[in-house]
Subunit: 320 residues, 2 copies
């Protein structure tokens, strides 16, 4: 297998003016994840590092830059999964930390639970030196406030458009990675959906909903209308096609997302790496930002069919 790190920066109606910063962000994240993979050899480090990069970037809806609840707060979901062991960590209603994906990993590695939400999750963060607990409101950006205002104003107008169009603010982030031995991992992190009720949980922390990794099938991270991805069990349906119907990651992603959008009129996107190392990148939304690094090649795109290529230096393997 060729070591690869593939990231997405969210599916949705990305404005033309937002494209350059989205591309910059996913390229940077793919490179950070790939560097972690080469240096530590760990697919978990790769997906965590890639997602950390996007969480720290205000141009994506995760960590800093997360969209806001109806009350104007940030409440974040994240999950991470190891395809070799099926170990996983999930977190919901995380607040005041930049890197919820690292908290999900800490839940996986230090507790006997797989999923912790709210105050209980914040207790885990506070017990660790790895997490800086920010002041309330520190993660709130002007752009997120503006989106919330626009959303509230839209409620007084027509409700004819589909939810995911009205709410906008695409930018859930995710990463999948594979190492030379075929070990895979997946990670997803999000601020959710603009104007959500406090306490709302989306698909990102749901294993089989928005995230899963299994060396025997694939590593997958989804993005899009969380309620629909969750109820349609998108990632699990995809894995079933890989396992039982001999689909590639790409074929399975296309089939499940197209079926979902046809049935429910909501859109989503997927990135995946299957058990044979094949990549899957598909979205039924207008756009999705994505990038992957494999060796010296850095591929990226935002529009359907787009696949740009840059040649970058491979990170150096540290001396033994």
């Amino acid at each position: 297998f060729e070591p690869t790190v593939l990231v997405h920066g969210g599916a949705g109606d990305i404005a033309d003016s937002g494209i350059p910063l989205k591309k910059l962000g996913v390229k940077r994240a793919a490179r950070r994840g790939y560097e972690a993979l080469i240096k530590s050899g760990s697919v978990l480090d790769a997906v965590e590092g890639a997602v950390n990069s996007l969480e720290e970037d205000v141009n994506f809806n995760a960590g800093n830059g997360s969209v806001l609840t109806w009350d104007g707060d940030v409440e974040m979901d994240a999950s991470i999964m190891n395809g070799a062991t099926l170990e996983a960590g999930c977190v919901s209603l995380a607040r005041d930390i930049i890197n919820p994906i690292s908290l999900a990993r800490r839940i996986m590695e230090t507790t006997r639970h797989r999923y912790i939400a709210g105050e209980g999750a914040m207790n885990i963060a506070m017990e660790s030196e790895n997490f800086k607990i920010l002041q309330k409101g520190a993660l709130v950006t002007e752009a997120a406030q503006k989106s919330l205002e626009n959303y509230k104003a839209s409620l007084n107008r027509t409700r004819s458009k589909r939810e995911s169009q009205i709410y906008g603010s695409p930018g859930t982030v995710g990463a999948v990675a594979i190492d030379a031995c075929g070990n895979v991992a997946a990670a997803t992190s999000t601020g959710g959906i603009t104007g959500k009720l406090s306490g709302r949980i989306g698909d990102s922390p749901i294993l089989g909903g928005g995230t899963y990794a299994d060396n025997e099938t694939a590593a997958v991270s989804a993005t899009g209308h969380g309620e629909t991805i969750m109820r349609y069990n998108v990632v699990s349906r995809m894995l079933a096609l890989v396992q039982h119907a001999n689909h590639t990651a790409q074929e399975a992603a296309e089939r499940v997302l197209n079926e979902m959008t046809q049935r429910f009129d909501e859109t989503a996107g997927i990135i995946a790496i299957d058990h044979r190392g094949r990549l899957g990148i598909h979205f039924t939304s207008k756009r999705m930002s994505w990038a992957y690094q494999r060796g010296e090649e850095l591929h990226f795109g935002v529009d359907a069919g787009e696949d740009q290529l840059e040649i970058v230096g491979e990170p150096r393997v540290p001396p033994l």
Copy 2:
């Protein structure tokens, strides 16, 4: 299809002395669910009614009788799903109400979200006249307090036994139902696991983890070691076998649970009704209480291979 309501009262090490009350409880729940199905014609009413019966029964770990967190509180998870529409409602960290499954249904029917946790969920309950908000501690039973004491004491002794044996207190509850037209629904409700950290979420509210319903495959409710069920994505794996490998509900339940227990050394149980109306009942734990009503027949059991039969009156269909 023959209308059927199948319930479980949890998989685990049920003590001999506990068997009579477990059997009484699951039989009563199956009858209440079946009566709701015949009277209203709704599989959602059926699974909600059956689960309500078990939530109100202190002999099960859901609603009244829920096990306690490390801090001695009750924090409940539940989910409900409609197999015809794939509509679903999920709730976590519910407190001070007897019927979390009804709150899950209310989230499904009155919000634009599918999953709400904690204070946000309690806000939904408080806005409705259907939910009586009890005083803090009202759901805490002496038996649950004793289980927590036993769990804490066990931490000072050996840690060699598997988690699900140490924690004991089986009793997550669930129901699946099918109507004459082949519509299915599923519901699961739980207090979780004794001594859990505050904020811990198990498999019960996870669509594809512990609960799912799809007319095209099956309705399923799982019980057992939640962390393992969640990471193994038990219900989704089962549905994949029904959809792609032509398994019956029983064959799929046996295969997935046996594989899970073999790989992770944790146990679980499943009830299911597949798209052809066939029932699946399987557990890898020592025992699981279950019952179903179909016409005048009321079947029930607790031990492996047990299938007792009582003939009961069919509820009368209300006059038009």
